[in-house]
Structure formats: C-alpha cells, structure tokens
Amino acid sequence: MEGGMTDNLGQLFWIFISAMVVNNFTLSYFLGLCPFFGVSGRLVTAFRLGLANIFVLVITSLCASFLNAFVLPHAPYLRLISFIVVIASTVQFVEMLIKKLLPGLFRALGIFLPLITTNCAILALALFQTSRAYGVIEGLVFALGAGAGLTLALVLMAGLREEAELSSVPALLRGTAMNLLIAGILSLAFMGFAGLFSTAG
C-alpha cells in the first residue's frame, strides 16, 4: 500500500471485487434468493432484473448514507423502520421520474422495480453499509459491486437453467431441488474467489 490516493482507490477496488465475487450477495450470503430462483428462467429477463437491482441498490446506498448521517445518530432504534420506509418511497419516486423522463429505460426495468424494493438484498446492503461504517463513496462502490454480483449470479443461473431445460433430467429432480443443487455447485465455484483476499491482504 503506497498511501494517499492510490490507497483509497485500492480500497474502493477491493470493496467492489469483494462485494461482486468473493462475498457475492446471492451465492455466499443467500440474499435475493426469491428472484434468483423465480426470475432466472430466461437469460434476457435475468439480465434486466440484474440491471434493475443495480439501480435500486445505488438509490438504497444513497438513502442509507443520508439516514446514517442525519437521522439515526438521534434515534438508533428507528434504523430498520426508517430504512424500509425511506428506501421504498424513494424507489417509488425515482420510478415515477424515470417513467416521465426516460420511458425506454422504464419499459426495460419497470415491472421489477416495485418487487425489488422488498428484496432482502436491498435491506441487507443498507445494514451492511451501516455496520461497516462506509462513507458515501464507499457505499456507492459497495452498491455497484453488490449489484454487479447479483447480476452475474442471475445471468449464470439463467444460462445454466436454459441448458438444463434441454438435457434429460430425472422427473423427480426437476424444479426447485435441481435449481438448489445447481446453485450449490455455482456457490462452490465462487468459493474459489475467496483466495483473492488472502493473497492480496
């Protein structure tokens, strides 16, 4: 570590990589599993859902930074309630703005936005960001990394499931059991990334 600017950038880089692959939200923290299993049937949909996730995560991170700075020092017991209420209403507000200003983007993300708001990955991001005492910039990078990780997991899963559709699988195994086993193997593969941290310090 050389210190100064490089140090900061390096740290941000590791926050990003860590959130994206090493501590992937879906595959090592089990967050956002409902869409992971529910919407990962088709590749295109999965990718769009991933993008919508990144979008909501970034807004969440900003909201959480704001609440952590101005509201929660005075009333820490309101943390959970205020996170939920503020995040849900901000996402709804931004959704209306996008609908008005960027209808193309809205059509791509639209249906997913209200669903994502009650996704555990979103609330977890706000909680992790708080417990790790990330600032605004670190929080944003963390949100982007986590979102990229969710998208990666969704797209990989959708690709695998599209393949599995075409192969002959015993009838008993089809459905949730098979998806869980696929996810387990994917999670096993992602554990390999844990080595990144021990070598990098």
């Binding site: 599993l33 943390r79 959970l80 309630i81 009650t118 909680l127």
Partner: protein
Amino acid sequence: MVGPGDTGHGDTGLGDTPGSYEEFVKGLWRENPVFVQVLGMCPALAVTNSAVNGLAMGGATLFVLFMSSLLISSLRSFIPKAVRISTYILVIATFVTVADLSLQALAPTVHRELGAFISLIVVNCLILGRQEAFASKNPVGRSLADAAGMGLGFTLALVLLGGAREVLGKGALFGVSLFGEGFEPWVVMILPPGGFLMLGLLLLLFAWIAEKREKLLDEAESEPDLDREAA
C-alpha cells in the same frame, strides 16, 4: 384450503375447535414454509450452519410472525385496503426491532453470529405472506393458530437443516461432538454451498418419499406397512 379429512396426521378431531387445530397443524408439515412452499429461503439457508443458530432464527421468526398476526388480525377492519402492505411492513419491522434488541440483550453470542440476518426477518416473505393471505382475513384465534403452526414449521425446518449441516460439517449436534476423533468433517456443508446442496438434497428426499408413498398406495391399498418402505 384443504378440508380436515385428508391430513396425514390422522387425529384431526382432537382439538375442541377443529378449525384452529387444522390451521395449526398444516404449517408443521403439509404446508411447511420451507420444504413445501419454499418461502423464507434467505434466512433458512444463511444461518443454518448449526442447529442452535437454526433454532434461534426460527424462534425469532416465530415471535415476529405470532405478534404481527395478533396485531394485524385484531386491527384488520381498521386497516385501509390501499395502504395495507405498508402497514404490515411497519408492524413487522417494529416487532423485528423488538426481537433484535431483546436478543442482543439476552443472548449476545447468538446475536453476533446471526448478525444482520435478524434484521432481515423484516423482508422474510413468509411473514408478509401470512399477513396478506391469512391474518388480514381471519379472526384472531385462527390467525394465531396459523401463525404458530407456520412459525413452528419454519423452526422445525431450520433446525433440521442446521442439524444435518452441523452433523456432516462438524461431526456435532447442538455443539455436542458425535463421532469422536476419527471423524473427518465435510467442511463444505457448513460453508455457503452446503446450504444450497443440503436443502436441495432434502427436497429431493421428500419428493422421493412422497413418490414412493403414492406408488405404494396405488399398488396395494390394503398394505399396512407403509413406513417401512418410506424410511
């Protein structure tokens, strides 16, 4: 809703209010939140690396579900339709805060181990689902029976999952070592992939048992000894 006649438990007429009893029993197994409805997966997989953690998580969820159902079914005629979901979430978040702070005070070690996942009970779709599907439409007694059944079923599933992972991954159950020195732990079972794999295997096992049972019932209605084959 399934009628009281076709449970696998056989003793439906036991309670003095068969309706409530039926609501209670269905969550334990036939409509088990984790194994049958596949709800509340995040906590079910994230914290079940030991039986104790599964029990703590299940207990906290049971508490939140029970209290939320109590409040929401008592207030169900006062909650406006348009804002009902936000109301449920606020009620749930309040009880989760209570559970979180209580656990922090009473069992700090468990609280540290479960970490953010206690707070994440708020977004457990099982709880919101029961409020929307049941507590908002049924009287208090039945709602409480439903909540208790679903909560206990959830706890049961979590303890089963956590126990199985702990036995394979650490060679212990509830912290008590089972196999002695020579046991080589299957470490991956207490790591994240183990959660996915174990739940997948359990679902597979249950599907297999169900299929066996059905086949046996089809083949010989009079065969009395079903459990031998199913086990």
